[in-house]
């Protein structure tokens, strides 16, 4: 079956950004790619409906798939974490995962509970409002706020806030540039 060229164009243009969202949600490159493929497959199956706002559709599908996975994970035997010794990373990980070791904040984010992680990703990476985040995750706006609060507090303790001060001034400058 021949796909709509608009779908192919959309995938080409946006798959990197969507992969980033998936990666931040699941904290694993392989899982993220798998998740994104599944989300794109579902989008393709409902392309008539999704073509109006395909990115939002895929993002929502990613969030739904993640929620399904988290729900399943509760009743599944727990996966043991990767060993932290010198051997394991070299044996398993490809270049993408090795780069991942340098991602301090991504690692900190991955240690948050799934709900809090999703809230941080949707609110601050995807720049959704509290209401949009609540709708996307199927929770109340109050829950989004409390998750945000707890997640930020956890990240504050895990990371040095000073690191962000420079980042913030750069971010503000970028925002000002954008406004002009």
């Amino acid at each position: 079956m021949r796909e709509d060229p608009a779908f192919e164009e959309f995938v080409r243009a946006r798959s990197a950004a969507l992969l980033r969202t998936a990666y931040l949600l699941v904290a694993d490159h392989g899982h993220a790619e798998d998740l994104l493929q599944t989300a794109l497959l579902r989008t393709l199956q409902h392309w008539r409906k999704a073509r109006v706002a395909p990115e939002a559709y895929v993002r929502q599908t990613l969030v739904n798939l993640c929620r399904d996975n988290w729900r399943r994970a509760r009743v599944r035997p727990r996966e043991l974490p990767l060993l932290t010794g010198a051997q394991d990373g070299r044996a398993i990980d490809g270049p993408a995962e090795r780069v991942g070791q340098r991602r301090e904040l991504v690692t900190a984010l991955a240690s948050l509970p799934p709900g809090q992680r999703a809230v941080i990703v949707l609110r601050f990476v995807e720049d959704l409002s509290v209401t949009q985040t609540a709708k996307s995750l199927g929770i109340s706006a109050g829950t989004v706020k409390s998750y945000t609060s707890r997640a930020i507090a956890s990240l504050r303790t895990m990371l040095h806030e000073d690191d962000f001060a420079g980042q913030l001034s750069h971010h503000d400058a970028t925002e000002v540039d954008r406004a002009h």
Binding site: L19, G30, L41, L44, V125, T174
Partner: protein
């Protein structure tokens, strides 16, 4: 001290920066298209696969169940017992009494005498149903996981996605373990995977790699 919103915005910026080098594998649209085609085939053949999986699971249960009648065990044993087995291009050497069965698109390897631990490498709808099927035959899933690097590499090499399901059939004591080699994993990868599962904690004293001689 930064406010919550300010810190959140800074976190967002830094997360974007830290993940700026993330790139999907080439031809994501093509991969989706291929998965769609596979799914269409899977839907058409779903019933047949399901029946095959149930039949195979029953066979495996015979192989590992300590209480199975001797005649049924002998009937199950003729399939692949012996020191050398050829399995889809892999020449696999195993101790006597080991049974290998192809199940769906995965492989199950177990020692009939020891019999209690197997790694089951498979993917797709059959994999999703396996825990329930195996539980129905007395095997208990103790671990479900995925080996990211290997899995991603296997997919890139066109061998499909892999999932691993480690099953434990209760009631037997001998602590030996065989790791199936499928989808092109190297010995180091298999051993690393075994380490990741932390088999020692589950009472497994050593891991034997099945070598790829093909």
């Amino acid at each position: 001290m930064l406010t919550e919103e300010e810190l959140g915005a800074a976190i967002g910026s830094r997360l974007r920066a830290e993940t700026a080098d993330l790139q999907p594998s080439h031809d994501m649209a093509g991969a989706v298209r291929r998965r769609r085609a596979r799914r269409a085939v899977a839907t058409r053949t779903g019933l047949a696969v399901g029946v095959a999986a149930v039949a195979a699971a029953a066979g495996v249960a015979v192989a590992v169940a300590p209480g199975a009648p001797a005649s049924r065990q002998q009937a199950a044993a003729h399939q692949a017992a012996g020191p050398t087995i050829r399995l889809d291009g892999y020449q696999i050497t195993m101790p006597e009494g080991t049974h290998v069965r192809k199940l769906g698109v995965g492989y199950l390897v177990g020692d009939q005498q020891a019999g209690q631990f197997v790694i089951f490498l498979m993917r797709g709808p059959v994999a999703a149903r396996m825990p329930k099927l195996m539980a129905a035959h007395g095997a208990r899933p103790v671990k479900v996981g995925r080996l990211t690097g290997w899995w991603a590499g296997a997919r890139k090499a066109g061998r499909g996605t892999g999932g691993e399901l480690l099953l434990h059939a209760p009631g037997l004591a001998k602590q030996e373990f065989l790791v199936a080699k499928a989808f092109g994993a190297s010995e180091a990868q298999v051993l690393a995977f075994a380490a990741r599962l932390n088999l020692a904690k589950m009472g497994v004293v050593h891991v034997t790699c099945v070598h790829n001689c093909g």
